[in-house]
Structures are given as C-alpha cells and as structure tokens.
Amino acid sequence: MTDLILQALFSGVLIGGVYALVALGLALSFGAMRIINLAHGELVLLAAYCAYLVETRTGLDPYAAIPLALLVVAGVSAVLFLMIDRIRQDRELNSLILTYAVGIILTNAILLAFASDVRSTASPTLQDAVTLGSVYAMTGEIIAFGLSLVLMVALWWWLKRSWYGRAVRAVSSNRAAATLMGISPGRTELVAFLVAGALASFAGVALYTMSVIQPALGHALTVKAFVITVLAGVGSIPGVFLGALLLGVTEALTVTLASSALQDLAGMVLFLVVLFLLPNGLFGARARRG
C-alpha cells in the first residue's frame, strides 16, 4: 500500500510539472490582459496534435514537432489576440465568451481533422520504464518534468530581467502608469499572449509524450489551469508550480485510493474549498480577487 501511495505521489508530481506549464500560460495572459483565455487548454491540445502529426507522418521524435507547434499556436494566439483587442464593450464578459467560442471552434476543428480516437506516442524510448527505488516512471514523464522546470526558470528570468518581461509586469500592475513610462500596452499584451502560446506549445508536446490525448481534453486542461491559478493566488511562479503539483498529486492519490471516475471530482472539490476558504490562494498574494 505504501508503495502504491509513493507511486501515486511520484506520478502526480510528474504530471503536475506539465499542468504547471499549462497554468503558467493562462496566468501570464490573465496577468497582462485581465482576461481569462478559455481557449488556452485547446491551444495546448493543438500543440499536442502537432506532435502527433509529426510523429505519425515523419516518424521523428515527438519533440521534433516543437517548431511546428510554436508556429501553429503562435498563429492562432495572434488571431485570438487581435479579436480580443477589438472588443470595446463589456470587455470582461465578452472576452470570456469570445475565448470560450474559440475553444469550441478549436475542439471541433481537432475533432474534424483527427477524429475522436485517443492518441499517444508510439516512441519506445519515451515509453521506457525508469525505476527509482520502489517507484517507476516512463522516460517521457521524466523528460517532460525536466523541460517544465527549465521553462519555469526561463519564464521567471524573462519576467524578472528582460525588457518585455518587465513591461508585462508594469502593464499588469498599473496600465496607465506603464503607458506614461513609454510602454505600449497593446504590444506588451501581444508579447505576453505569444509567450503564453509558446508555453502552451511546449506543454502540449510534453503532454503528448507522457499521456494520452483526445479532442475533449482541451476544455479539461483549461479548467485544470484555472484551478491551479486559483490555488496559487495571483502572480507567483513558485505558487503556480506548487499548485500544479498539489493538483497532480490530489488526482493521482484519488485514482489510487478511490477510483479513476472520481479523479476530476477531487480536483474540483479542492478548487472550491480553496476558493471559499482562502480567497487569496494557498501561496499568498498581494491582490484580492473580485
């Protein structure tokens, strides 16, 4: 039993790494534009299907699909951004509905292009088992987790040190003041949106190498990403990482101790409990929601 629980904790942490990437993209576009991109999970899934396409058509490693995924997702993100930018009236409500609609379009486009079958990588290298003491993992899971860590550090560095990263933080904390300092909020928002798209691309390809994908997954990913941002509170990368690990571990433990049917229930209940009891998220934050 202890072994099973240890295994669940380990697997939960590994999938949590990819969840963190998905959630960081959502949090970044939310931070910069104050809108929740309800199509974010579908962008991740789009990248995952790029990996599937490259693997099945060329026989290359799924990670070879990253340039294609970046291109496709950045293109869709840019179009999405231009549409959101056009909204003048009731921006919060209408952007929510607009991104939701784009999510519906992407889900059905994926369904049309790839059918509703469940897909996963065929690469034997990625599916090789690695044993660490009494727990084991697939090579793909370890690589994906490593990639997540590297990207999180890169994002942290970008936000902290680069000009555009600082601009994103400036626009996020005070739009008017940032404009006075010579930052173009429109362009900064676009950059933040594209970086969020890049994170989604990596997350999608990583997801494909370690898990199974199907068209309906996009919506579920959006919800998971949102749950994690709520768990984390506003504006903290370590918070998002820990929130993602918590969600991954909670799901894995529920599957091991109860049943896989209850996996999503556990995440949702965790979400509501945090929402009601800790309005600022688990890991403290400056701004209060609402």
Binding site: I35, I36, M83, R86, I87, Q89, D90, E92, L93, N94, L96, I97, L98, Y100, A101, V102, G103, I104, I105, N108, A109, L111, L112, S116, H219, V223, F226, V227, V230, A261, L262, D264, L265, M268, V269, F271, L272, L275, F276, P279, R289, G290
Partner: protein
C-alpha cells in the same frame, strides 16, 4: 429597499406603448400557433419542442446574466438536477407529473443554494466556479447509481399526462405546453425587470458599491436571481425528461446544456426578453437542419463561429442590432 425616487441616471425600463406590446404578444402567439395550424409533421414539432426547451434555459441564463450580472458556464447542473428530480419524484414517490415538474424546479433551486458562496466571486471566477459545480454534479450523478441508475440510465418514469382531453405526451400537446411555459417564463422575467427589484438590479449593474451604500442588499438580490434562474432551468430540464423518457448523466448533465443557452442568448441579444427565445429557436434549427447536414461530426464548429462573429460584430445580439438600425437607443439597456 425600494427606492422612492428613481435616479435619472439609471435608465428606466423600456416600457413602450401598451398597444405595441399587445401587438407583439399577439404576433408571437400567432407565430407559435402556426406550426400546429399548418399541420406540421411530428418531426418538425419534435425539433420545435427541443428548440423551446432551449429557449427556456436561454431565458433563464439571460435572466442571471442580464439582471444578476453573472455569466454562468454551468447551467447544465440545474438542467440535470431538474430532470433527475422530476423523474425520481414521479416514479419513486408516485407524485403526479405536473406536480413533480415544479417540485423539480425547487430541487434545482435548492441545489443552487450550495452555490451561494460563489456570489462573493466576480466575473470569470464566478463563471468558472459554476462550471466546477456542474462537473461535480455530473460526476456525483454518475457515481450515485442507487439513485440515478448511473451510466446505465433511467427510463422507468411516467411521461406527460392527459389533461382535459389534451394528451400532453403527444407532439402537439407537448408543443402547446412548452409554448405556454416559455411564455410564462418570459412574463415572469418581464415582471421582475419592471419591479423595484429590477430597478435595484440595474443600479447594481452600474455600481454595486454605490447601490449597497443606499441600502440595497445586493448579495441577497443576486442570490434570488441565481435561485430563480436555477428554478426555471430545472423546470425545463424536468419537462424535457418527461418528453424524452430517458435519462443518463452524460446526457442530462451534458456540457451542451451550458453551451447552447449561451450561444442562443448572445445570438438573440441577452439583454432582451425575446432575444434568448428567438435566438434559441434559430440557433437550434440551424444546428439541426443546416450544420448537421454540412458537417456530421463536429457541427458545433459552426456555432462557435456564429458566437465569435456575434461577440465581435453585434455584442448586443440580433435584437440589439435591429434596435440600433431602427434608430433607437445606441444600445439596449437592461
């Protein structure tokens, strides 16, 4: 809480001229009677029945969105609760179906009580918290096999009865019943909109803080709107269950019951009463007759496109667009 003087900055409810409203109601009734008078096929009546079910939910969604200022992505929760409650109350307790349906509405409103804490949340947080509830409800309904029959489904429950010689279970009877129910819901919506409560809700939409300062309990009013919206959705879920005669969690709590009303209400104009009703009929018939024909699997892609176009070009919906074209106010207020 009823304000004695109306603040001139708060737009008055669109009252219109009485004869115009009467003419509108008359036109709607004639339009509603037309399919029956022209002897429409059972297939067409079946489509219209489903469209009217959707009209009811879209109206309930718009009530919450317009009067309560809350966007819900989880009306499937109320629809499913209403459907199962009515089926179980009528089958297990032997309550007459026509009594079970309003009771099911009450059950849906009761289930909304569990969501009251979400009223503290604003905008996207509320929308997604409701979505979380809808998922929780679906999973619970699937797991509670003793009560709901789980994934195997539930089909041993009575259909609509015959009242005064009119078989409500027949296509024509069900159609008539649904026209009446949608009309009743629209009247209730309109009555609230014109009441002091409606005035207070419009004020909340402008500035919640300012409205609270003058002594309006905004959270209470929003809570009532949530419960009422849940009740209406539950009633239509119950009607649908008795007409279809079969329930399973994947159907009764399907995300479609959350998505379709949003598309319908936005398409028609969610800040009007007739918009969601007409929008639902147009959208449903378009989806079933046109979109499904063009693309068998994934036909909702067209609905997504419609929604994108509406938000970008006419965020006030078709009715809002028409009003603007007609030289009315720049945008239709609550």
């Amino acid at each position: 809480m009823a304000p004695a003087h109306r603040d001139p900055r708060i737009p008055a409810p669109a009252s219109g001229k009485p004869w115009r409203n009467a003419a509108l109601v008359g036109a709607c009734l004639v339009l509603a009677a037309l399919p029956v008078l022209l002897g429409a096929s059972n297939y067409l009546l079946g489509l219209l029945i489903s469209a009217l079910i959707l009209s009811g939910i879209a109206l309930a969604w718009a009530l919450l969105g317009n009067l309560g200022g809350m966007v819900s992505f989880g009306h499937a929760a109320f629809f499913g609760v209403g459907a199962y409650a009515s089926a179980l109350i009528s089958a297990r307790l032997g309550v007459p179906v026509l009594l079970a349906i309003p009771l099911a509405g009450l059950c849906a409103a009761l289930s909304a009580l569990a969501m009251l804490p979400t009223l503290r949340l604003s905008g996207p947080y509320f929308a997604l918290a409701i979505l979380a509830y809808a998922q929780i409800f679906r999973i619970l309904a699937t797991e509670a096999t003793g009560l709901t029959g789980g994934g195997a489904g539930l089909q041993r429950f009575p259909g609509l009865p015959t009242i005064l010689g009119l078989d409500l279970g027949s296509r024509t009877g069900s159609y008539g019943l649904l026209v009446a129910m949608v009309a009743l819901s629209a009247l209730a919506y309109e009555a609230i909109r014109r009441s002091h409560v409606g005035t207070a809700l419009r004020a909340i939409a402008h500035s919640e803080d300012a409205t609270r300062v003058v002594g309006v309990n905004s959270v209470l009013l929003k809570a009532w709107m949530l419960l009422l919206s849940a009740f209406m959705t539950g009633v239509f879920g119950a009607l649908n269950a008795h007409i279809i005669g079969f329930l399973e969690p994947a159907y009764a709590f399907s995300g479609l019951w959350s998505v379709m009303p949003i598309i319908a209400a936005i398409f028609g104009g969610y800040r009007t009463v007739l918009g969601p009703i007409g929008g639902a009929i147009v959208i449903y018939l378009f989806d079933q007759l046109v979109a499904k024909d063009l693309i068998a699997v994934g036909h909702q892609i067209l609905l997504g496109l419609v929604l994108v176009v509406m938000v970008l070009i006419a965020p006030n919906g078709l009715l809002g667009l028409l009003k603007r074209r007609a030289g009315g106010r720049p945008h239709a207020d609550a």
